[in-house]
Structures are given as structure tokens and as C-alpha cells.
């Protein structure tokens, strides 16, 4: 009797577990069903070999948005990676345990703040500052990079911190016993040993930066053109989908879904890369 009950529980848990995978499968299927016809009919050339996006004239070049997405992501990494890794190093090696136990949950809380709040703060406080110091419209690549750079901090910090804390204590002791300072130990032994974990954190942060939509819509200005400088306004791929999907019909709608396919593939590649790096323990 007991055995029977056990079996039922086991099977239902299996179904629950697979339902998430099934949902992912459905989403993928849906995006591809809607977007693939456009790619099949036009090839990728119509998306990639044009800098002009004006659906009313039937031109669907995503290059401006691609440049927007990539430059903002890159900017976010320039800000977020050094800050995040430095913070992880401090928490792992230099701070006291009590301080770490206070700061770590607070940093994780940063990830829980809705992105619209980040966007709001960027729009109200950051954009005017950028406008008055650098000129331009204020809603720009730079503004978005700063906002996104802060948004990806929790991801980078917590994954890098875990990677550093997982290292055996003996690495530190072995290095210090040879007369290394704490900083020499960090740069010479601990960072190289934890580099796969840190890299995985950076890649996941990058995925988050590319995928972020709401905050980006609020601080980039959303003009569809190839940006000429970092204080120019721009539009990202995600923002483009969110802004136009509401009224798009026909080929326009398909083109947006095709954009989604490109984003989807990009994120999947980044995540697979991150997982591979985490799995591949050094030496």
C-alpha cells in the first residue's frame, strides 16, 4: 500500500518538474511559429543588411536596434564587472563575517527591485544630470548603461562571491605562508582559481542586460537610428518589440517575432556558455 502511494507521489512530482520544461518548449514553439515565416520568406538579409526600420514602408532593418542593444550591454559590463567583482572580492576576503552577512542579503535585495523602479530613477535623476554634464537629450546610451550596470550588479556579485567562497581555505593559507600579502593572494591565486565562476557571473549578467526591457525603454529615448555617440538616444531590440507589438499587424508583427527569435537564440547561447564554464572546473 505504502509502495503504491510512493509511486503516485513520485509520478506527480515528475509531471510538475516536466511542466516547466514543457512551458519553455511551448514558448519556443510559439516564437518560432510566428517569426520563422518572415525569416524563411525574406532570409536574414532583410533584417541584417539595412539600417532602416520603418514598418510602414516595409523596411525592417534591425541594425540600429542591434547596435543599441550591444552598446548598452557593453557599457553596462564596463561599469558592472569591475564594480561587481571588486565588491565580491571585498566581501569574500576583506570584510568581517558579520558585515558580509549584512551586506549579502542587501545586495540580493537589489535584484528584487522591479526594473520599472530602476528606469524611473534613471529617468528622473540620472538623465537630467547627464544632460547638463555631457549635453544631448539625457535619455541616452550612457544613461541606460549606468542603470543597467547597477541592475546586473547583484548577479555578478553573488555568483562571483560564491565562486570565491567555494575555494578551499588551503589556497589562501598556502599563499600567505609564503609571505604573500592578502592582495597578492587575491590576484595571484584566488581570482585565477575562481575565474570560471566569475566569468559565468559576467555572462549571466550580460544576458540580463540584453534582455532587460522596461528600464531601458524609460532611459534610452527610443529613437530608431544608428546612434552617433554615447550620449545619443537609441532603441534596443527588446524595447522595439515591447513598443511596437501592441499595434503591429501582418508582416510587421512577423518581423518583431523574428527579432524575438534572434534575441532568444542569443540568450540561449549565453546561458549554455555560462553553464559550460561553471561545469568545467579548472584542472
Amino acid at each position: 500500500m505504502k509502495n503504491h502511494q510512493e509511486k503516485i507521489i513520485e509520478k506527480s512530482i515528475l509531471i510538475v518538474a516536466f511542466s516547466t520544461v514543457f512551458i519553455l518548449f511551448l514558448i519556443t514553439l510559439f516564437i518560432f511559429k510566428e517569426g520563422l515565416p518572415f525569416i524563411l520568406n525574406n532570409g536574414l538579409t532583410r533584417l541584417f543588411f539595412s539600417t532602416n526600420w520603418s514598418p510602414s514602408d516595409g523596411s525592417y532593418g534591425i541594425i540600429p536596434m542591434l547596435i543599441g542593444s550591444l552598446s548598452i550591454t557593453f557599457g553596462a559590463l564596463i561599469l558592472g564587472v569591475p564594480l561587481g567583482v571588486a565588491c565580491a572580492i571585498y566581501l569574500a576576503e576583506f570584510s568581517s563575517k558579520t558585515l558580509r552577512n549584512i551586506l549579502k542579503p542587501m545586495i540580493e535585495l537589489l535584484a528584487g527591485i522591479p526594473s520599472v523602479v530602476y528606469g524611473f530613477i534613471g529617468m528622473i535623476f540620472l538623465a537630467p544630470v547627464i544632460r547638463s554634464y555631457f549635453g544631448g537629450p539625457g535619455l541616452s546610451i550612457l544613461t541606460a548603461s549606468i542603470v543597467l550596470g547597477i541592475m546586473i550588479l547583484p548577479t555578478i556579485i553573488s555568483i562571483s562571491l560564491d565562486a570565491l567562497l567555494m575555494l578551499p581555505r588551503s589556497y589562501k593559507e598556502g599563499s600567505m605562508a609564503l609571505g604573500a600579502t592578502q592582495w597578492q593572494t587575491v590576484t595571484g591565486v584566488l581570482l585565477p582559481a575562481a575565474r570560471s565562476g566569475i566569468l559565468a557571473g559576467v555572462i549571466l549578467g550580460m544576458g540580463r542586460a540584453i534582455g532587460e526591457t522596461m528600464a531601458v525603454i524609460m532611459v534610452t529615448g527610443n529613437s530608431v537610428k544608428v546612434p552617433s555617440s554615447f550620449i545619443d538616444s537609441t532603441r534596443t531590440l527588446t524595447a522595439n518589440i515591447a513598443l511596437e507589438m501592441g499595434y503591429a499587424i501582418g508582416e510587421h508583427r512577423q518581423a518583431l517575432f523574428a527579432t524575438a527569435i534572434i534575441l532568444f537564440v542569443f540568450i540561449i547561447i549565453l546561458n549554455i556558455l555560462a553553464m559550460k564554464i561553471i561545469k568545467k572546473r579548472r584542472i
Binding site: Y171, G174, M176, A177, L178, A180, V189, P192, I283
Partner: protein, 251 residues
């Protein structure tokens, strides 16, 4: 014989718990001093006091004095990194860094000064030979150190601490995880090293202490019960406690 280390009225507390009580002990140049005693008697902590590895532990307190070459190492103006360079330590578990054999060895010297590649290579060969590891690894110096056997890793750690040209080498139960063959290799190496360095050996293995050391100290619950010539300790110890411990009648 010249005094290398002088320990005077040393009390050590970790988290307000007393670990070492009023230790007075001298260590002479070019000798091997064994420290024996049951677990938790403060042997390892004693070693960590001497090279100030205890400092990594934030919650500790040291009273009394430790002099090395007449200089108090707990004075505030002591450069701890320099001190640790002068005093190598070999831990119970080998601690190779996650680098190649060669990089493990050159890690220490490069921390302290720039050295030419030729001199480094010469130093690597010399230290590996001193640690009797050269023959086994000379063709695969760029292999990861983590792929060596336990005994080889331990000798690599020994070679690595020799690379920074220390004066004193501390052994913290260096053979506890090794097989008899590796153990005898490490012991033979210690005999060789004695000519140039001052050695302190903490060991759970009383037979090992009897085999390799010139003098032996017996620690019990943080107190130094007795220190004397090894022969004396193992044939006619003054204290009954020492006698009980080395004959295995303890507790």
C-alpha cells in the same frame, strides 16, 4: 649552539579560550625540535604563533614574547610578510596551489622580487632536488600540481617553501596523510635540510619524533610538560605524564 627562537611566557587565546599556557621554550639553530602531544594540546597553534599565521584568524590574542634572532616578532613594526618568508610552513594536508608544478614553485619568489628566468630555473631545480622530488617531476614541470600523488604534493610544498630561502621551516604533521615510503622520503629530506635550516616538527607519531629529532617537547592541554634531548625523553623522561604518553598508556 646559537639560539634561533626564544619563547618567553607565551599565552595564546583564541575566542577567549586559552590555547597555550605560559610556554617557555628555546629552539637552536640547525636542530630538529619535535613537538608531540595528543590532539588539541596546542601544537599546531604553537607553530602558527611562530610564523604569525594565527593573524589570519581575527579573534585571537597573544601574550608574552616570541623572539627570532633576538627580535620580538609581535612588536607592532614587524613586517608580517617578511617574517612569513623567513619561516616556511608545511601543513598536514599538502596545499598545492591550483597552478602547474613550475608555477607553484616560482609563485613565492616572484612575490618578493623580480628574478631572471635563468636564476628562477636554477632555483627550481635546486629546491626540487633538496626536496628529493626532482627526478620524479623534471620532465613534467608544466603539469598541474593537483595531479601529483599526495606524497609528491607534500614534497612539492616543501620545495615551494624552500624557494623563498627561509631560515626556519615548520612542519605541521607533514606525514599524517602519507604512506610509509613517502614518509621516509620526507624524513630523509628533513635530515638534509637540518644542515641549513632550523626545523620544528609537530607530529602525532611519537616514533617519528624519536627517529628524526634532536630534541623533543611534550605539550599537554596547552602546557609544556617537558623538553629535553630526544634520547632522554624516550628513555627516561622526568615527568610521569610524558612517560605515559610515549608508552601509549595515556588517558
Amino acid at each position: 649552539m646559537k639560539k634561533k627562537i626564544a619563547v618567553l611566557h607565551l599565552n595564546v587565546f583564541i575566542k577567549d579560550k586559552i590555547i597555550l599556557k605560559d610556554i617557555n621554550l628555546d629552539v637552536y639553530e640547525n636542530e630538529i625540535l619535535s613537538i608531540i602531544g595528543p590532539a588539541n594540546s596546542g601544537k599546531s597553534s604553537f607553530l602558527r604563533v611562530i610564523n604569525r599565521m594565527l593573524d589570519i584568524n581575527s579573534d585571537f590574542r597573544v601574550e608574552g614574547n616570541v623572539f627570532i634572532d633576538g627580535e620580538d616578532i609581535y612588536k607592532t613594526n614587524v613586517n608580517i610578510c617578511d617574517l612569513r618568508k623567513r619561516i616556511g610552513i608545511i601543513f598536514a594536508l599538502p596545499v598545492p596551489l591550483p597552478l602547474s608544478i613550475y608555477d607553484n614553485l616560482i609563485y613565492g619568489p616572484l612575490l618578493h622580487k623580480k628574478i631572471s628566468v635563468e636564476r628562477l630555473n636554477g632555483l627550481v631545480e635546486k629546491c626540487l632536488k633538496s626536496a628529493s622530488l626532482w627526478e620524479e617531476v623534471k620532465d613534467r614541470l608544466h603539469l598541474s600540481a593537483l595531479q601529483l600523488s599526495g606524497g609528491q604534493q607534500q614534497r612539492l610544498c616543501l620545495a615551494r617553501s624552500l624557494m623563498v630561502e627561509p631560515e626556519i621551516i615548520l612542519f605541521d604533521e607533514p606525514c599524517s596523510g602519507l604512506d610509509p615510503v613517502s614518509t621516509s622520503k620526507v624524513e630523509r629530506t628533513m635530515f638534509e635540510l637540518k644542515k641549513r635550516y632550523t626545523l620544528i616538527l609537530v607530529t602525532n607519531n611519537t616514533k617519528q619524533a624519536a627517529r628524526v629529532s634532536d630534541r623533543t617537547a611534550f605539550l599537554l592541554s596547552g602546557k609544556l610538560i617537558e623538553v629535553d634531548q630526544t634520547k632522554q625523553i624516550f628513555t627516561s623522561p622526568k615527568s610521569k605524564l610524558t612517560n605515559d604518553y610515549i608508552t601509549g598508556r595515556f588517558g
